[in-house]
């Protein structure tokens, strides 16, 4: 074995005999490459890029869902099913598969939209295909473009200072951004971080505070005006918890050390392929879990278990978090899928502020099942112990939000 210096000496000799470095002319690509990493120009560009990302995401998702899919699902699919499915509002199978109905002035009436119907064939299909699919599609399309252009490492450099303060470093932006698409691959991507401490922190923060594309899509649909608040709370939690975790978890936090590749023109072939891989991956994971979630929640309602649970947890929910006890259903659904949980929340009568709190709650109180399994696989058993501590912290965070509302005089 050679030593480092011997090896480099040898390479220098080889290179002298075989490589000629011609005069290199800097191109426009290089100039743009540098401008987007220098703070004075790079930070405004980063803000613009993220804002642009956001606008395209919300307008496209809204366009597809409100423009077409809601009309199809609520105008044709739901009434058609309500017509042809045997049984009726007083049949449990009908309740489970099509429409659970809801009480209005003491009578059970049929639902008029797929958010409220709660059935496997209605909400269970509308949520993944009607709302989430367009959102996930546009998110992945844009994320793929950013990846292939080569922007992510530059974003990492620009944000390094901030992330370094919480014991991570700029490259943690890669799993974070992947996580806004889906937390599952993001958990695996934490492998690019150097130490156990950093990976552990990143997985925890991802699982708890980073909403996935599916959740963003559904929030955009049901709480477009207040989702900004939700995201603000989540990002706030990300940094505050990061800060605390950094202080209490032993281990090193090495600094950033990465290559910044030159910009590249994305190829249609690769973009198409990656979007397809990811969207089909989403469908494979999401659809079964959404349907399973619908079934479980439906069965819990039918058997009366949900009411019992709601009453049992009522003091905690209403006094501590300040949300209606009916949110217990969505909280159960959130074990399976966050998108389903948010969709179910939208059918519950509550104030804007209660809605914000409850959406934040379903986001943070547990990673979705698929993510949880992945975290166990990647992080091993150490994570289980700390999970208990985290659940406790979540209660504090939820209570804190309630407190903020009380202080603002809105709750």
């Amino acid at each position: 074995m050679l030593s480092i210096d011997e090896r480099w000496d040898l390479i220098d000799k080889i290179s002298k005999k075989t490589v000629k470095f011609g005069k290199y002319k800097h191109t426009l690509k290089d100039a743009v490459g540098e401008l987007t990493v220098k703070p004075l120009t790079g930070i405004p560009v980063a803000v613009a890029v993220l804002y642009g990302f956001w606008s395209v995401f919300s307008s496209f998702a809204g366009f597809c869902t409100d423009g077409f899919l809601v009309k199809i699902f609520d105008g044709y699919w739901l009434p058609w099913l309500q017509n042809i499915f045997p049984g009726g509002l007083h049949n449990w199978l009908y309740n489970l598969m099509v429409d659970a109905g809801h009480i209005e002035n003491g009578v059970l009436v049929p639902s008029d939209n797929c958010f409220e119907a709660f059935g496997v064939l209605t909400s269970g299909l509308f949520v993944p295909f009607g709302v989430v699919l367009p959102a996930v599609f546009i998110f992945y399309l844009m994320m793929t473009l950013l990846e292939d252009i080569g922007y992510l490492p530059r974003l990492a450099v620009l944000i390094d200072t901030v992330l370094h303060k919480i014991g991570l470093h700029g490259y943690a932006i890669v799993p974070t951004i992947l996580g806004f698409g889906c937390n599952v691959p993001a958990v695996t991507a934490t492998r690019i971080l150097e130490t156990k401490k950093q990976r552990f922190m990143m997985m925890t923060l991802l699982g708890i505070f980073i909403p996935c594309g599916a959740q963003l899509g559904i929030m955009e649909e049901v709480i477009p005006d207040t989702m900004g608040f939700v995201i603000l709370y989540l990002l706030f939690g990300y940094f505050v918890f990061g800060f605390i975790l950094n202080k209490i978890i032993p281990g090193k936090s090495p600094e950033i050390l990465i290559d910044i590749p030159p910009y590249q023109r994305p190829t249609i072939h690769n973009v198409r392929k990656k979007v397809w891989i990811r969207v089909s991956g989403f469908l494979k994971v999401a659809v079964p879990f959404v349907i399973l979630g619908c079934l479980i929640v439906g069965v819990m309602y039918i058997t009366g278990f949900m009411d019992w649970l709601a009453n049992a947890l009522s003091p905690l929910l209403t006094n501590w978090f300040g949300v209606p006890k009916e949110t217990v259903g969505p909280l159960v659904a959130a074990f399976m899928r966050k998108d389903l949980a948010v969709a179910q929340l939208s059918a519950i009568e509550m104030t804007k502020y209660q809605m914000i709190t409850s959406v934040v709650l379903v986001s943070i109180y547990f990673p979705c099942l698929a993510t949880f399994i992945m975290i166990l696989k990647e992080g091993g058993k150490e994570l289980l112990g700390s999970l208990a501590a985290l659940v406790a912290s979540v209660f504090i965070f939820g209570g804190l939000i309630h407190l903020i509302w009380i202080l603002l005089g809105v709750a």
Partner: protein, 173 residues
């Protein structure tokens, strides 16, 4: 026989892998896209041969978990043939990892990928001479267009372990 694709992050290993095996591994323009290995198969002289796409690593001293996976893979597959994928526009540091792998005694074949980028940067590489010095096949490739991939496949059987002493001797004083 197994084939390992090793190299720095972001040099095009996954593109290479997809071309060789027809798989659909994610390729992106940032280091650290691949963080776990993927196995695939290609046909060489009527035999199915396992090809493994490995996370990128800068050296055999891993600094993060993804690099650990790569180094562990290399250690586990003692009798694999290693295709070293080098970014031709950063050839010197690419050779660093390649030499490390050669020193460990693996049969090696070198793909000088991103040949198009090197050309744009006016970097001229004397491939013949490099082959003579390193005593292993060296093939310029452009993985995204497929250029050179066939030649790599056809010359895989020429890969062989080389003594580092020979390389030092070949390059002269």
């Amino acid at each position: 026989m197994k084939i390992l694709l090793m190299g720095h992050p972001n040099v095009g290993k996954s593109v290479f892998f997809n071309r060789l095996t027809g798989s659909n591994v994610i390729e992106s323009n940032y280091p650290g896209t691949t963080v776990d290995y993927t196995k695939g198969y290609m046909v060489l002289e009527n035999r199915d041969i396992e090809v493994i796409d490995v996370p990128g690593t800068f050296s055999l001293e891993p600094k993060d978990k993804a690099e650990e996976v790569a180094v562990k893979m290399l250690e586990e597959e003692k009798d694999a043939i290693v295709v070293c994928v080098i970014d031709a526009s950063k050839i010197e540091r690419g050779l660093y990892l390649t030499l490390e792998i050669i020193e460990k005694g693996y049969p090696v074949i070198i793909a000088l990928n991103m040949w198009d980028v090197a050309k744009d940067k006016n970097i001229e590489i004397d491939v013949k001479n490099l082959e003579k010095i390193l005593e292993v096949p060296v093939i310029p490739t452009v993985a995204i267009s497929g250029e050179g991939i066939k030649e790599v496949v056809s010359r895989i059987k020429e890969a062989k372990p080389v003594k580092i002493k020979n390389i030092i001797k070949n390059v002269g004083g």
